[in-house]
């Protein structure tokens, strides 16, 4: 059994967690629609049962490994500073019903979906890859959460310091885990995902002559979120030797990432009081609220449909059905 890494679980976890009304995704606001939340959470929870792991699988091994248990100390220091990254840090240290490590879940589902024979199980390397995916995503969240301080502020400076260190730690740990896979193609793909999420921070969504604002949004989201999920899907199929499904898997990863992010934008736009500042207002300037929502829902649904179509290349089994359910849940 491959040992799990990272964070101490301060509360015991149960398989098949009960549905919780509030789910948070990355750093955006809570989704507003009750229906959407319920069906997404349900789809994710059911999917977790299919691949047999507790939701929060970035679990701290018991204090056997000093370096890893140390990180919880630094994350807790961060929590104490009032830095904007508190929520992210709390979710990592105090895992609870709210935290679903969906990216890792997607990787495990993709691994299982590709198995043509019912007896085949997810490989230990694929589980390690799922963990690596979560580690890289976490490092991304933390590092992009560093704030620019123009005036001295001891607390926020400490928060930044902890953020840099914890993010570095997660990146370093993901590299060490990557080495255990003994597959340099996978290493290359994950490294590209790291370069890509970094590049995304430097893209300006304002439309230029050459492309529309929507194209630039797609480009930014592809780099920021799509690249990691797509490359992780691709990598797990490489590890599972499912060569014929690699292209479909990679594209599925990208489509689901864009659909997911589009849905997050829609839900936060609906619930946000200050709409003028929201990215959707910038993508569709001088458009009535209802039309903005409708336009972007169309974008989201295009990606969901594309994802579902790609899924048809996969064998029909619990895992591919679960992936379909997750995709469809985004359409609510």
């Amino acid at each position: 059994m491959v040992p799990r890494s990272c964070l101490i679980r301060w509360k015991t976890r149960h398989l098949g967690s009960s549905i919780h009304p509030a789910v948070s995704f990355s750093r955006s606001l809570f989704a507003s629609s009750q229906v959407y939340q319920t069906s997404w959470v349900q789809a994710v929870s059911n999917a977790e049962k299919v691949v047999g792991f507790p939701t929060s699988f970035l679990s701290l091994r018991s204090v056997a490994n000093d370096e890893i248990s140390n990180i919880a100390v630094y994350l807790k220091k961060l929590i104490g500073t009032g830095h904007p990254l508190i929520t992210t840090a709390k979710n990592l240290v105090y895992s609870n019903d709210k935290t679903h490590q969906t990216r890792g879940l997607l990787v495990l589902l993709m691994s299982k979906a590709a198995k043509r024979e019912s007896g085949q199980d997810i490989l230990p390397e694929q589980r390690t890859l799922a963990e690596i995916t979560e580690l890289v995503h976490t490092a991304h969240l933390i590092h992009t959460g560093v704030i620019n301080l123009n005036t001295p502020n001891a607390n926020l400076e400490m928060g930044n310091k902890m953020a840099v260190l914890c993010g570095d730690f997660f990146l370093a740990h993901s590299c060490v885990q990557l080495a255990t896979l003994q597959n340099l193609k996978v290493v290359e793909l994950i490294a590209q995902a790291i370069s890509d999420y970094s590049t995304a921070e430097f893209i300006d969504i304002i439309a230029s002559e050459n492309d529309s604002a929507l194209d630039r949004w797609s480009q930014q989201m592809t780099l920021r979120y799509g690249s990691l999920i797509a490359h992780a899907c691709q990598s797990t199929l490489i590890l599972g030797n499912n060569v014929e499904l690699i292209e479909s898997g990679k594209s599925f990863g990208l489509e689901i990432a864009l659909a997911w992010q589009a849905n997050i934008e829609i839900q936060s736009f609906k619930s946000n009081a200050n709409r003028a500042d929201h990215v959707l207002s910038k993508l569709f300037p001088e458009t009535p609220f209802v039309d903005v929502v409708a336009n972007f829902q169309a974008v989201r649904d295009r990606h969901v449909n594309a994802a579902l179509k790609l899924l048809t290349a996969f064998p029909q089994n619990d895992a591919s059905l679960a992936l379909g359910n997750i995709a469809r849940a985004l359409k609510c």
Binding site: E67, N70, Y74, A139, H140, H143, T144, V146, I147, N148, L149, E157, N160, K161, V164, L165, G167, D168, F169, L171, A172, H173, C175, V176, L178, A179, Q182, L184, K185, V187, E188, I190, A191, Q192, A193, I194, S195, D196, Y197, S198, T199, E201, F202, I203, D204
Partner: protein, 390 residues
Amino acid sequence: MTAFLASQRFAILFASHNRQLCRAYSGLQKCESLLFTSPPSLLFQHQIQTGVPNITNVATASANDKPDNDAMIRRDLASLYEDIRESLGKSQATLTPIAQYYFDGEGKAIRPMITMCLAKAINCHLNQTSSDMIEKQKKVAQVVEMIHTASLVHDDVIDLAESRRNKSSANVVWGQKRSIVAGDFVVGRAIEICAAMQSDPVFELITKMVADLVNGELMQLDGSATEDERFAHYLEKTFKKTASLIAYSCQSVSVLAGADTSLQNIAFQFGRQLGMAFQLVDDVLDFVATSAQLGKPAAADLRLGLATAPVLFAAHKFPELNPLIQRRFNQPGDVETAFYLVHRSDGLQRTKELASQYCDDAVTQLAHLSPSSYQQILYTLTHELLNRMK
């Protein structure tokens, strides 16, 4: 001949066994004699038989050889920085200047220099000439320099540094967030380049290096060591933060050249001892050089609350330093008191002596290789490193 080789094998074995024993000891005195050399009699024998120079009377390369090889190294270094800038250039217009900021070739470039010279020395030793392999060795130097620089950018945010290499630090120019993310970008690209080398063992060494860098930084934050443990803690932190880069880098190029385990170990130990010496000299310079010479503020370590070797040695003579060390010099006047006491003690002298011992050991390792002009360059470099002023 076999007896000589056997004695060398024994010397290495004894030295490494010594290290493991010493690791378990606490206490300043024992740690000082840690790590290095085989028993004096063996070393002396070795020097007589091969005429290996000891660090205090290093002969520089013969006048004929030096200019050519020097020029070749400089060309290689220039093209290394060009290659790095190119690999970071194909990206967003706002990212590129940050990513490329420290790769202008203005730094000391000590790590790539050591890596490439050692690579060439090992190639001579093993009679390896494949240009493909030489390209990969250059990539190792590139990857290590990229990772090292990214860690500097992150360190500057952590330390709230305002200048580096005689210019404003990246976080001052572009803000903390973009600097951190640009650092991640550089690391991502470096790992891609490393993967393209198609060598699993090299990749594993590079990941060990990355992990050691982060853990070294975490160790530096941790003030929990007791008085007895402090020096050992400092040495371990120094290995992780500084020497590991050079050690794994040297080992990697030896792996690419097809070195067996014992030669890899020699490469590793050479890099390691040189790296340790480098940091010790750095720690001395922090007390001795002016900010203009260093390109960054002096007495920076004390201001960050760090107790480096000079301070730890000084505390032996002035135990009143211990509470200051414990509280990381955070009271008004602590930094000044510590600075003054270090200069009054023999701390700087003892640190230099320790650095010299590490250099001696590095030279001993280097002497295992067949004579070559690159080996000579490394002898000179080791000597210059010990005596540098910035």
